[in-house]
């Protein structure tokens, strides 16, 4: 019975070691925000974080996730108010919305390392995430908006520390 650390909780699950993490998250843990799209790592709908890195949970076995910190869309922020989530609402990004958990998780991994990405960096980082509604331009705008907010927040925090 593999032990998983997911969104800050430790859980043991009943699943064979080769079970894709995606299905354990969705079915056993009943966290359905992470989506199944292609089962082959081609669309990004199932993106979660393993130790802060964006990975495709359909291509990650439960065994590979043991001992690592798993974060899903449900755990990205306590109240759904991560700067990216706020930006996604401000820019009215989602249409059908099905790919957007994966888009947000993919973008969050970028901004956690680089809060001032160029447009090319955003495109390179996000190109593996398909959006069949083609909301790409709003995704780009929302990432830039969130990055700005994160930089402002961090600058404000630094000033506070400085004084």
């Amino acid at each position: 019975m593999p032990n998983l650390n997911i969104n800050g909780r430790n859980m043991s699950v009943e699943a064979a070691n080769d079970t894709p993490l995606l299905w354990v998250i969705r079915e056993q843990l009943q966290m359905t925000g992470t989506k199944f799209g292609c089962g082959a790592g081609l669309c990004g709908a199932c993106t979660v974080h393993l130790n802060g890195e964006a990975v495709r949970s359909c291509q990650t076995s439960v065994a590979d996730a043991v001992g690592k910190k798993i974060t899903t869309i449900e755990g990205l922020s306590a109240k759904g108010d991560h700067p990216l989530q706020k930006a996604w609402i401000a820019e009215q990004v989602p249409q059908c919305g099905y790919c957007q958990s994966g888009q947000i998780m993919q973008a969050a991994a970028l901004l956690s390392k680089n809060s001032n990405p160029t447009k090319d960096e955003v495109v390179a980082h996000m190109d593996g995430n398909l959006c069949r509604c083609m909301t790409y331009s709003r995704i780009q705008k929302a990432i830039m908006r969130a990055a700005t907010e994160m930089r402002t927040a961090s600058a404000t925090g630094n000033e506070r520390r400085a004084t």
Binding site: V24, Q30, I89, C133
Partner: protein, 761 residues
């Protein structure tokens, strides 16, 4: 602390739905009506008498919950319906909520008489009904408030969910009126019809980009799609589909290896009397991962059936053969005598245009959950055609459709794919066989190879010009599978002009354009071979996605052949004479708007770059949104086409939510580009060759061009925006490629190889 999570499926706490369902308390004020007189109840009889609680309810806490009978697949139609209700009701946007309707006929579309979402019809066909429902609510609340306040109802003003009387400075909130229990007035259809609605200058909500109500739940994982349904005791099904798209049968199933998969329950071979599926088996197990393993372990022998040798090439060859026969098909348009006019024309041009098979591939793979409870079959899935899909599910179960309840979910993409009901068949038959609720989820491979695809099409267009280069004759043959005829619903077919029986107008819509051409015919020819081998469906924009590819390419070819500017040639043809009066002028204006916005004819372009135009009256002549596009492309010597910018103008009459419209138009335009350049499916040995996003490749972020959208709202009635912009982009790109490098490509998708070959030619 370590929590142990057992491998069972307890009932979920469905937070997103609950938050939407707030406000349906029994004491709430309920409003609605059975539909306006004179509407065409094509499929199901509307309720014979006034039924309360149809379109919305207001709870004692003042929250207004609108029940949306349309499938919400990302067009935010539920939010749009709420916005229209809120305008006339006088409710504050923060008080509005939405929920999705079941398949109860009382939620049928007031114009279509069925629950079907498509055609970019929803806003135009529900605007009046939702407006009247909202106004009726305002009147009932006002009357009740007047009685309580002891003032004349005529002196009350409604806004922001508050009813106020300025003279006495008294006011009551909607919540207070509902709590008083005095709001009980109901309306007959005639009374509803008599309500005087606001005039556009009085609007405070229509035309405002209020935030879409469904969006927050789509940023935090709480929006529930069909794939997210969890029922107590539920097990999972994975379909195993045959190598042949349609017509295969299962000869034998060996489940000896599958039995070794832990959690495996049963392999169920479908007995589909609805004919929706052929040769399918469902592997049922306790988890989806195990169902997949079991499915992979099944050894199934098939008889490939009559289509097992067919390919895209054979479908195209058959299409050409049919087109060549003088008695093929039926006439959709027949004005004058094109054949006679060709005989006297100074110049005649002929061209063939093709489109390949295209796959919907919404991001949420097809799925459905079926549960038998007593006499009732419950289906949980996101579906665009609950009226028909419920009947298909019933057919799969062998019960009367009235015993089927369709539980609507948010759709993880529709694009026409979820008009079909195939996903219900394995869920129903597996649930029946194992005696438990079953959720069936297609793999992406199942989803792609068993799509009800956009059919392969072949069109031949012939044009005749007089000595002045004036277009005097056009003949247009359209050969395709007939997607809408496949539904088996006569009301969706159209009479042919030559009285040769009904035709599927959803294969030729758009070909009845607004250009003035005195001699014009359009022939709809059914490709029976393609119809049987690749059962086709309605893919976002349907026929205008191919008819305008042909027409708008041909118009350009004619202009170039007669030495005219292609855009100005269109303006000439849109003279608004006769039956084209009104529509032609709107389309002309839209084209000029797009040209202006794009800098057509004024911007100096480097070598290898070009602009091309197209304009369309999609979706149908009677329901058109007037849409034009200028595509700006750069073509490399290799033939590779890079779209630099798409400028789209669209006349939608009235905008409900401007930001929502822009999102739809941009998405539609990018769909058009994706179909024009990147998406191609092929049939080989009876099966679709592309199985996942490595071989079927919709547009990705790195391929995104600049998109400029100009929405024209001139006060005419609201039209649809989900599809029309799809149809205008491919011909605009094709025409731009020609202007850039002189290469005319007549087949979709436009590949680098085809461009390079045409450059040499």
């Amino acid at each position: 602390m370590n929590e142990h999570v057992k491998n069972v499926t307890p009932e979920t706490t469905d937070l997103s739905r609950r938050s939407f369902l707030v406000g349906t308390a029994a004491t709430g004020l309920v409003l609605g009506y059975a539909g306006v007189p004179g509407i065409d109840h094509a499929l199901a009889a509307a309720p014979a008498h006034f039924e309360p609680s149809v379109w919305y309810s207001i709870a004692p806490d003042g929250l207004v919950t609108v029940t949306c009978g349309k499938a919400d697949m990302g067009q935010h139609v539920a939010s749009t319906m709420a916005q229209i209700v809120a305008e006339e009701l006088g409710a504050s946007w923060k008080d509005m909520r939405v929920q999705l309707a079941s398949n109860d006929p009382k939620f049928n579309d007031p114009v279509l008489g069925a629950q079907i979402t498509g055609g970019s019809w929803s806003t135009m066909m529900n605007f009046d009904a939702m407006s009247r429902a909202g106004a009726a609510g305002r009147m009932a609340l006002t009357e009740a408030a007047a009685a309580t306040m002891g003032v004349p109802a005529g002196e009350l003003v409604v806004g922001n969910s508050v009813i106020s009387h300025s003279k006495s400075k008294k006011s009551m909130s909607f919540a207070e009126v509902v709590k008083s229990g005095k709001a009980t007035k109901t309306f007959t259809p005639d009374e509803l019809k008599a309500i005087k609605l606001k005039s556009p200058e009085q609007y405070t909500m229509i035309g405002v980009s209020v935030p879409q109500l469904d969006i927050p739940s789509k940023t935090n994982g709480t929006a529930k799609y069909g794939i997210d349904v969890m029922l107590p005791g539920m097990v999972y099904g994975k379909v195993v589909t045959p190598p042949v798209r349609y017509g295969a049968t299962v000869k034998s199933v060996d489940d000896s290896a599958a039995k070794k998969v832990p959690g495996f329950i049963k392999a169920v071979t479908l007995d589909d009397k609805t004919g929706t599926t052929t040769g399918w088996v469902v592997a049922v197990a306790n988890t989806y991962a195990n169902a997949r393993k079991a499915a992979d372990a099944l050894k199934i022998e098939y008889d490939g059936g009559p289509n097992a040798k067919l390919s895209s090439e054979s479908l195209l060859t058959e299409a050409k053969r049919l087109q060549g026969l003088s008695d093929s098909g039926q006439f959709f348009v027949k004005d004058g005598d094109p054949n006679a006019a060709f005989g006297t024309a100074a110049k005649v041009l002929e061209a063939e245009y093709t489109t390949n098979i295209n796959i919907h591939a919404p991001m949420e793979p097809m799925n459905a959950t079926a549960e038998f409870k007593g006499d009732i079959l419950h289906i949980h899935t996101g579906n665009q055609f609950a009226t028909r899909s419920g009947a298909i599910a019933a057919g799969a179960a062998g019960i009367d459709p009235k015993y089927v309840v369709m539980h609507q979910m948010w759709l993880g993409g529709g694009f026409g794919r979820r008009l079909d009901a195939d996903m219900t068949v394995p869920a129903v038959q597996a649930a029946k066989s194992v005696g438990k609720p079953v959720k069936v989820i297609y793999s992406r491979e199942n989803d792609m190879t068993m799509d009800f695809s956009r059919p392969l099409t072949y069109q031949k267009v012939k044009a005749g010009m007089d000595g002045d280069g004036k277009l005097v004759a056009l003949s247009h043959d359209v050969v395709s599978a007939w997607p809408t005829q496949r539904w088996g619903i006569p009301d969706f077919l159209s009479p042919s002009v030559d009285k040769k029986g009904p035709l599927d107008a959803f294969t030729v819509n758009g070909a009845d354009f607004f250009y003035t051409v005195p001699n014009h015919y359009v022939r709809a020819i059914k490709n029976e071979m393609a119809h049987n081998a690749t059962p086709s469906g309605q893919l976002r924009s349907v026929a205008p996605g191919w008819t305008f590819w042909a027409i708008e390419s041909m118009i350009d070819e004619i202009a170039h052949a007669t030495g005219k500017d292609p855009a100005l040639f269109r303006v000439e043809l849109l003279d608004g004479k006769g039956k084209n009066d009104g529509g032609a002028q709107r389309l002309r204006n839209t084209l000029l708007a797009a040209m202006g916005l794009a800098g057509y004819g004024t911007l100096k372009l480097p070598k290898g770059e070009g602009m091309g135009v197209a304009c369309v009256s999609s979706q149908e002549r009677a329901t058109a949104s007037w849409t034009a596009c200028v595509a700006h492309v750069a073509v490399a010597p290799s033939g590779e086409v890079k779209v630099k910018k798409l400028t789209v103008a669209t006349d939608v009459g009235t905008q409900v939510n401007p930001d929502g419209i822009r999102a739809q138009v941009e998405g539609a335009a990018l769909w058009g580009m994706s179909l024009a350049l990147f998406e191609k499916a092929t049939l080989k040995d009876g099966g679709i060759e592309q199985t996942n996003f490595d071989s079927y490749t919709p547009l990705r972020m790195s391929q995104l061009p600049e998109v400029a959208v100009n929405v024209i709202a001139n006060g005419e009635k609201a039209t649809g925006v989900g599809e029309p912009a799809v149809t205008v982009v491919a011909p605009a790109i094709g025409n731009a490629v020609f202007n850039a490098v002189g290469a005319r490509v007549r087949g979709l998708p436009i590949t680098a190889e085809a461009v390079k070959a045409a450059m040499k030619a």
